[in-house]
Subunit: 331 residues, 2 copies
């Protein structure tokens, strides 16, 4: 089934509004979930609606958060999100941070006490659309070796560019845990180099891998980057560390409240030939067949906006079970 | 030969002073080079003195830089380094950025037109010793696939912790080019997964690898991180991209002037239980045998400060050729 985007967004927003969210918050949550879906990042798209729904119903997320903003220093803001769904807090944070960074030249914002943010590209991407170079760091539940103690702790950046911002959003494990869960469900083995078993030995057994840990990229280097993110997103922003974040399959009343740190920089303030430099970089990378991060996602999004969003029968059934009935027909 | 640190520092500083650097700049350059040497990061230690010397003599580096600081916005500074050796500009940048970040809560500083910085850990480490969480990004000459267009573009972080700051300083290639140069000199093969030949095929031939490109960590992920650094350090800070940076073996009058972006955040401003969180993180990592980034380097440094710095005969001969005659004897 193919659905026009506006219809799908209305259906998803309605669903969250019926779960108690204010109209604007329900629409923001729909906006970020659908952005992931449209951009082909399906693990953070509509399949997550079941989790958001359960967490809102069980009180793991707060449908009517009283968010509170502090501005302790000229270039620092802290958003106490009161259990808001991550995208609601994240989009609010973007609206606060953009003018701060434009005024100060660079600024930071910590989001504390919000649910899972979904795709970090949504937040840095919106800052880039406002002319800012933006970084985001988030911690996630324990996943990587050794331990696991640290999460797959993603790092994101977006930077103004033509014809669309460069957008990077990468976790520091070789693969996402979702790929191992999928292999485990199908009873298939996984390639070497993805994971360790609980004794810390390399494994190709998906079930053993899920009891063990994911291997970080570049081994010690990815581990070090995970520590970097944990300090920024966990110790500094969220005031909560990966080991305290419940895994996604834990009871919904225990929804994780990870930390999110956003940094934004105003290129104009730096007085470099920023726009020309970025154009030059894109040209140099394209000349050797290097991909431009974010380009594929932007193309998928534009296609879906124009041609409608493809919803598989499985997903349709999942959504129907949640009470989201899609009319279909489309275009 | 083992030499007491103060004696070695004086000898190195004297050498640079004789090459025309002001006394304080000569001592700063010696300080950063020796920090790398003491911490076991030999690729950025005393073996680099030949390169610094040649570049200073050939005019690739400016021994008497007139550095100029701009403060276009409250939380942004730009240091125009006028061809100063990287460590001279970097240590000056630290002195400027620390009070800015303490006052603003977070702040950024771009270094433009300085030579190679040596170890980024030196700059973020000093900011952490002043209570700040600090990030650094630098671009480097072309090195990684595809192309090469992008450098091994390091990312560094230091964070206040007990008993010493956590210090991360990692490039985004699987191995440093230096390891491949070493294998090539010995005529030895390199392991699979390190590099590609100039046609982009995996190779174990060190010479073919040097004509090709290094493989980034996590392949597409490391590549994306290299783009991230290129935007921050190249387009924003340095106003110069990796492809414009001459390789280390190019004539010394063409010394690279890479970009360096420093960011610093004041943990107190964020109102999280920062110190307790970091202590908790260290404990959790140690409990599973995870290494604490920076601990090994700090231990090596302390040992060398107490017991003297070991200088091999090869290195002694290299230094002697430059006119640095070490007295030896030591302790």
């Amino acid at each position: 089934m193919k659905l026009p985007y506006p219809e799908l967004r209305r259906a998803v927003a309605d669903h969250f509004h019926h779960l108690g969210l204010a109209l604007d918050h329900a629409d923001e949550l729909a906006e970020v979930i659908l952005e992931a879906e449209l951009e082909g990042n399906l693990g953070h798209g509509l399949t997550r609606m079941a989790q958001y729904t359960a967490q809102l119903q069980a009180g793991g997320l707060n449908p009517r958060p009283q968010m509170r903003l502090e501005r302790p220093r000229p270039s620092v803001a802290v958003l106490h999100a009161d259990g808001a769904p991550g995208p609601v807090a994240g989009l609010f944070a973007v609206r606060v941070l953009a003018p701060m960074a434009q005024e100060q030249g660079s600024a930071s914002l910590a989001v504390r006490g919000a649910g899972h943010s979904g795709v970090l590209s949504a937040y840095v991407g919106r800052l880039a659309q406002q002319g800012l170079v933006a970084l985001a760091f988030a911690n996630t539940p324990p996943a990587i070796a050794p331990g696991p103690v640290l999460g797959t702790n993603p790092i994101a950046l977006a930077a103004p560019a033509y014809p669309q911002p460069i957008v990077i959003d990468t976790s520091i494990s070789v693969v996402a845990r979702g790929k191992i869960i999928a292999a485990s469900k199908k009873g298939e083995p996984i390639p070497e180099g993805w994971a360790l078993d609980k004794e810390g030995r390399p494994t190709t057994d998906a079930k053993a891998a899920l009891e063990g840990a994911l291997i970080p990229i570049g081994e010690g280097k990815g581990y070090a980057l995970a520590v970097l993110v944990e300090i920024l997103a966990g110790a500094l922003a969220g005031d909560i560390l990966s080991p305290e974040l419940p895994l996604p399959w834990m009871p919904p009343e225990q929804a994780a409240k990870p930390g999110l740190l956003l940094l934004a920089l105003e290129p104009e303030a730096f007085g470099s030939g920023y726009a020309g430099r970025v154009a030059q970089l894109i040209q140099a990378l394209e000349a050797v067949g290097g991909r431009i991060p974010g380009a594929r996602r932007a193309a998928l999004r534009e296609k879906a906006l124009q041609e409608g969003v493809e919803i598989s029968e499985t997903l349709q059934a999942e959504l129907s079970k949640l009470g989201v009935h899609l009319q279909g027909g489309g275009r």
